[in-house]
């Protein structure tokens, strides 16, 4: 049997021009979360408790796309989702469409432990949150100025921003334009060919 191990992530697909100070901020948050998890593991916390503890910290900090600092819907609101899974008995809990729950990961855990289901979403999840007495906040709490700016950018580009390889039709080589023209159908704001295998 090996010792304990922990890993955290804050998202994939990074802006290639991310300013150094933002990179440093991200590393500091990742370090803080790692150390939070390490001290819990050294105090013999169980794995399921540690993953919830660390993700709560990441949801509370606005730097990454979760909890406060979440990406915005096309309406400029926040709809959050989360899931948690405990290896030994493969127990799991998941939530989607949350708009007022401060820490979605803790509600996902309550779904796993206090409900007969594995996944509860939208209004049902909000009702369950009220029943369970988890901390609720206004949707505005999750919205940051930076993300309002990002949403404006995404709307102007008529696309969704999840990484930086989104083909910009017309501006680049005509092959990209041509390909897009061949198949102008868009899905989620992207040329359908991105989803071709589908």
């Amino acid at each position: 049997m090996g010792g304990w191990a922990i890993a955290v992530h804050g998202g994939a697909g990074v802006d290639p021009n991310l300013p150094p100070e933002r990179q440093e901020q991200a590393k500091q948050l990742l370090n803080r979360c790692l150390n939070l998890g390490i001290s819990a593991l050294r105090s013999n916390f169980s794995a399921i408790d540690v993953v919830e503890l660390v993700v709560r910290e990441l949801e509370t900090d606005p730097l990454f796309n979760s909890g406060r600092g979440s990406a915005l819907t096309t309406k400029g609101t926040v709809e959050m989702e989360a899931s948690i899974m405990d290896g030994p008995k493969r127990r799991c809990g998941a939530v989607s469409g949350l708009t007022t729950v401060k820490n979605p990961i803790s509600l996902a855990r309550l779904v796993m432990e206090k409900s007969p289901h594995s996944y509860i979403a939208f209004s049902g999840a909000e009702e369950f949150a009220k029943e369970q007495g988890v901390e609720l906040v206004e949707n505005e709490y999750f919205v940051t100025e930076e993300n309002l700016g990002m949403l404006k950018l995404a709307k102007e580009a008529n696309t969704i921003l999840f990484d930086y390889r989104i083909p910009t039709v017309g501006l680049e080589s005509c092959s990209v334009g041509a390909a897009a023209m061949d198949n102008p159908l868009l899905m989620n704001g992207l040329p359908i060919r991105v989803y071709a295998p589908e």
Binding site: M1, A5, G11, V54, V78, A82
Partner: protein
């Protein structure tokens, strides 16, 4: 999207993922993070949390596949992560972190970067982006 995977001293694995989804997404859109087996999975062998293009992660059942190739192909953790990132994503861009019940930690991604950090009891610790 944020995530954490842990194996504790008893060899128990767990995984957790949380997200706001995609900027400018349609209201009601559900991504990979809450889907067990896609964005998040944990069993006796390992714990996995994914991030990136949700639609590609869902279609590839990415998190479960790491456990499956360990179980059925006998791959070690990092081999399993590399295999899944290379073979299961089609054109999608994504990344994942994973731990095994042997106290190993691994990660993989096929995009330009992933915010990540990992540590093990024998003193290894790394925080990186690119």
């Amino acid at each position: 999207t944020v995530g954490c995977v842990v194996v504790d001293r008893e060899g128990r694995c767990a995984a957790a993922t949380s997200t706001g989804g995609l900027m400018n997404k349609m209201s009601g859109r559900i991504g990979d993070s809450p889907l067990i087996g896609a964005g998040t999975y944990a069993c006796e062998l390992c714990g996995v949390s994914c991030t990136g293009e949700g639609e590609a992660i869902i279609r590839g059942t990415l998190a479960r596949d790491v456990a499956a190739v360990m179980e059925y192909k006998g791959l070690e953790l990092q081999e399993a992560v590399d295999f899944v990132i290379k073979e299961r994503l089609d054109e999608g861009k994504a990344g994942l972190i994973a731990v095994s019940n042997k106290g190993e930690v691994a990660f993989g991604f096929n995009c330009n970067g992933m915010f990540r950090g990992c540590a093990t009891e024998d003193g290894f610790m790394e925080v990186a982006i690119w």
